[in-house]
Symmetry: C2
Subunit: 288 residues, 2 copies
Amino acid sequence: MKKIVIFGVGLIGGSVALALKKAGSAAQIIGVGRSTESLQSAVDLGVIDAACSDITQAVQNADIVLIAAPVAQTASILTAIKPALAATTVITDAGSTKSDVLACAKEILGEQFNQFVGGHPIAGAEKSGVTAATTDLYRNKNVVLTPTDATDPDAIQRVRELWQHCGANVTEMPATTHDSIFAAVSHLPHLLAFALVDDIASRKNAEQLFGFAASGFRDFTRIAGSHPEMWRDISLANRSALLNEITAYQDELSRLKQMLELSDGDALHALFDRASTARNNWAKLKEQ
Amino acid sequence: MKKIVIFGVGLIGGSVALALKKAGSAAQIIGVGRSTESLQSAVDLGVIDAACSDITQAVQNADIVLIAAPVAQTASILTAIKPALAATTVITDAGSTKSDVLACAKEILGEQFNQFVGGHPIAGAEKSGVTAATTDLYRNKNVVLTPTDATDPDAIQRVRELWQHCGANVTEMPATTHDSIFAAVSHLPHLLAFALVDDIASRKNAEQLFGFAASGFRDFTRIAGSHPEMWRDISLANRSALLNEITAYQDELSRLKQMLELSDGDALHALFDRASTARNNWAKLKEQ
């Protein structure tokens, strides 16, 4: 690939740039962003080859345009690049939800929607910003691509190779499947953690409660420290799948509550045992 | 203190023994337990001075008897030591719930209930067994004591000093306050994590879901890997406070769900913002 353009050179976009440079698989990496200062810092750190403020010029002759900016900017970025988009340029993104991004891309790109491949790298985002970017953020991590029937097979292949050069394991699935999976294993846990901390923080004796919270609480609530804006956007973007997950969880919690109301030790033990076995098996598998 | 007797020399009891030895604050530490093998291992590791299978002999002239065995054994241990209990011996425990332990001690010890001080060291239990015991498990950790109006002030003072010699910060509060606090910041999070993993594990596509679960899921569900028996016992022992917490959490989750149903981004943002601010402030305070 001769030219990669990255919109949003933070942890996600910056780590792609670093990994591609290390793999020697991109001749030129151009960064585009809203903050001149942060882009200059990406150039200074050697993460990107150049920053570009002229979008038409940036996108010209690009092999791949990767949108790694906050998802709320996706529509305006697609609108801005559309007039300059060559038929040979592939566009992809790194957002946490996919059905909404595909709908947006379809509407804005029109006939060029076949050049768009939705993507979601599953990599930690505890830190943010280009200074946190690393060459190995995606090594052995999952990346999900959500092509549609309309997507150009060559475009899919090019995005697949981009992530494989970053060391990732690439899987393809429909956007709705992606959104259901991540509603269950990521979005719901975030909302549950936010809800617990908000519930405790609103109590009169919040200070006392927090004072006795220990390591179990620390780990359970770590994701409640995440960015409020980002999680508002993800919640709204994946609203329908997330509402299904909340309902399923409410049912599970009601069943557990009933076991406790009935002092049904056997049922509680069976539930805890299923959960701890599944959790510990999962952890063993992940460690391999 | 001349003689300390510890029932259950695992992570909790063993770490008390090691810390007291290091502080030079106990002349003799005797271990009592159901497994001869595990007690012998505690002797071999230098955690206790001697193992004793004769309870009457073990308890004789003891300054403090610490019950650090699984809570389900507390009643039978109290019943066994009662006939041998001198008026000068203080009894304490290390269970995660306190109202139930006090009720049990009151019933079994009768007039000698004034010699009993309920205790709960708030220290991690990811590992278990005497081989995991360390001298500094309780350093700067909280220990809650739950004396009643009937408790002998000297007994409280002696137990307080025991934990202070282990490096812990000792707080006193009524057992019901203790149980409410830990229902909120420990027992509820455990049940919520068990419920999430059980819900996911029961799905047809569980393998696929677990396959895409990442670091947020890992931390949120770590406590779902806990011992099923221990959590059945804790849930039943703290049933009433825990039911209140589940109800409060269900209400909070219903409010959050409604915000999402209404696509109320401002309300979602406000809730996530309150939670993330509280969580991050708590983490900063704990790091100090």
